[in-house]
Symmetry: C2
Amino acid sequence: MRVDLALIGFGNVARRFVRLLDEQRHRLADDHALDYRIVGIATRRHGTTHQPDGLDAALAASHVEAGGRLDEIAAPRATDAFEVIAALATSTAPLRVVVETTTLDIENGRPAIDHVDAALASGCHVVTANKGPAAFAYGRLHATAEAAGLSFLFEGAVMDGVPIFNLVRETMPTAAVQRFRGIVNSTTNHILTALEDGEAFAPALARMQALGIAEADPSLDVDGWDAAAKAAALANVFMDAGITPHDVVREGLGPGTAERAREAKARGQRLRLIASGARGQRPSVALTELAPGDLLAGLSGQANALILTTDILDDIAICQLGGDLCHTAYALLSDLVTVRRRAGASG
Amino acid sequence: MRVDLALIGFGNVARRFVRLLDEQRHRLADDHALDYRIVGIATRRHGTTHQPDGLDAALAASHVEAGGRLDEIAAPRATDAFEVIAALATSTAPLRVVVETTTLDIENGRPAIDHVDAALASGCHVVTANKGPAAFAYGRLHATAEAAGLSFLFEGAVMDGVPIFNLVRETMPTAAVQRFRGIVNSTTNHILTALEDGEAFAPALARMQALGIAEADPSLDVDGWDAAAKAAALANVFMDAGITPHDVVREGLGPGTAERAREAKARGQRLRLIASGARGQRPSVALTELAPGDLLAGLSGQANALILTTDILDDIAICQLGGDLCHTAYALLSDLVTVRRRAGASG
């Protein structure tokens, strides 16, 4: 079955995604009867292009990385994200998917939410690695997608490529999540691990920036906003909370954090930034001292983990023991396969 | 869509399963359009029954628990497992599912494998909590099921209700598992945790038997056979290994284990029974000293965890932080929903 894709945002994650698609082209075709074409790319700073017969996205990625603009590759038939989405909507492919990877705006989740709205209104499925849509508007967007018979998926929004939303939706039928508790921000976990060992804050943050793991604006990590957006998304999806990241009780790393982390470690404890939530309560992101037997206390460096408590199973945890951009790109691929699976055997 | 079920084996897990089904009846109907009836139960020691119009399995469970026989509830129309499967095959329900929960036979996986064969030959799907079929004959049974358009599912065979096989199949598309490493036997992990704290072997084992978590024959746990069967199933499913538990390099708990566990803990290490495998190598089950930073070293008591390394993602781990019979029953329910999902929207 042919799937036409438009990419809204073409940063590190999206460029890794198009290369991963190329690498997995044969498995996607053989295992999932998924034959994709990329027909449009919209960026804020590197131009925009739409080619209804498909374009070489890996070439476009290299061109952008070399400082070029997309409109230099071919004459653009669309000049912004909304025009690219409108153009995708005219495709005759049985599945049309908008791949949204713009950066998180922590004020209100826009324009990512507008991109999702435009896609759904045009009959296009949406897969996104942006936390904004699920963190600010999950209930409304999910209902809109359902009513239109479309998918709105965002596996990459929390713990990158490690399945969280898919885990619950696809493998835990009839179970309801009652509580969650986890380490969901790699940058702050790496910094806390460094601080407790007596390192300074700045070089630890710089390492995460050099790896492309810290947010473009690192205060989103350090002040707990990234974790708060993830906590809001988890609460919205698993508990119908209907909240935004601004409703999350939030704490970040501050001037006194290094001393607290060192003192905790000296006592055999670990200071970690824990995101947690429970049905009917406001989620929180808080620096928390963990006892050594706690699974989350054993996570060092960039590792992430989420513990889910459901009404049927006891606590189960899923952990990401490494972390790089490929994970987020893989989450987009995984969501794309879900869109394809939902379309059934036809085509 | 109506689903008729026959239960082969009616021990603790199967009796918990029928009660869980009753508890989840409304969610199964509302969320999955799954309307089940139990039409047959076969046991070795408590009689056999088949009632084509459905029977009250919760009542049957209570009757058996009070020492009664199934053939006292209603005149049996089938006298053994194979007759019950043959009778299920005559049902006009659009989905017919054999729920296999007999105990593991570590010599050759029979008669569980024969039950799976009989079910598939009769056009019935199979869900099983028995490790034998996947550990001894996965490749052949999977191919038989595929050719017949039927499901052969066994989520409960490893880590009870925590999704392992579903995790990879449903949420990790195009990824190939290269290695696995984990703690997959609750009884030996509980005993090792007790031994390292200076407790004796016998009372620790007795606690696991009292909870119904140790195998009926506890030597299957203690000698590493249960873990070996799980390692064989993982290698067969994820790596097309085509092996049996007898091909697994196996170590169990022995007379010297207590001292090793205490000495390891005194040095800050942990002695754990680790099941591991890699593509192209024989899997193993071995007592292994773990450094404190190892995720598996932090698992005490009955906790289980499995770390998967795939070609796309780095290591990811999934952990079961508690453990009881309900988990295995939930795995059967989860597999039943998978059978229903695969049947699509019709009905």
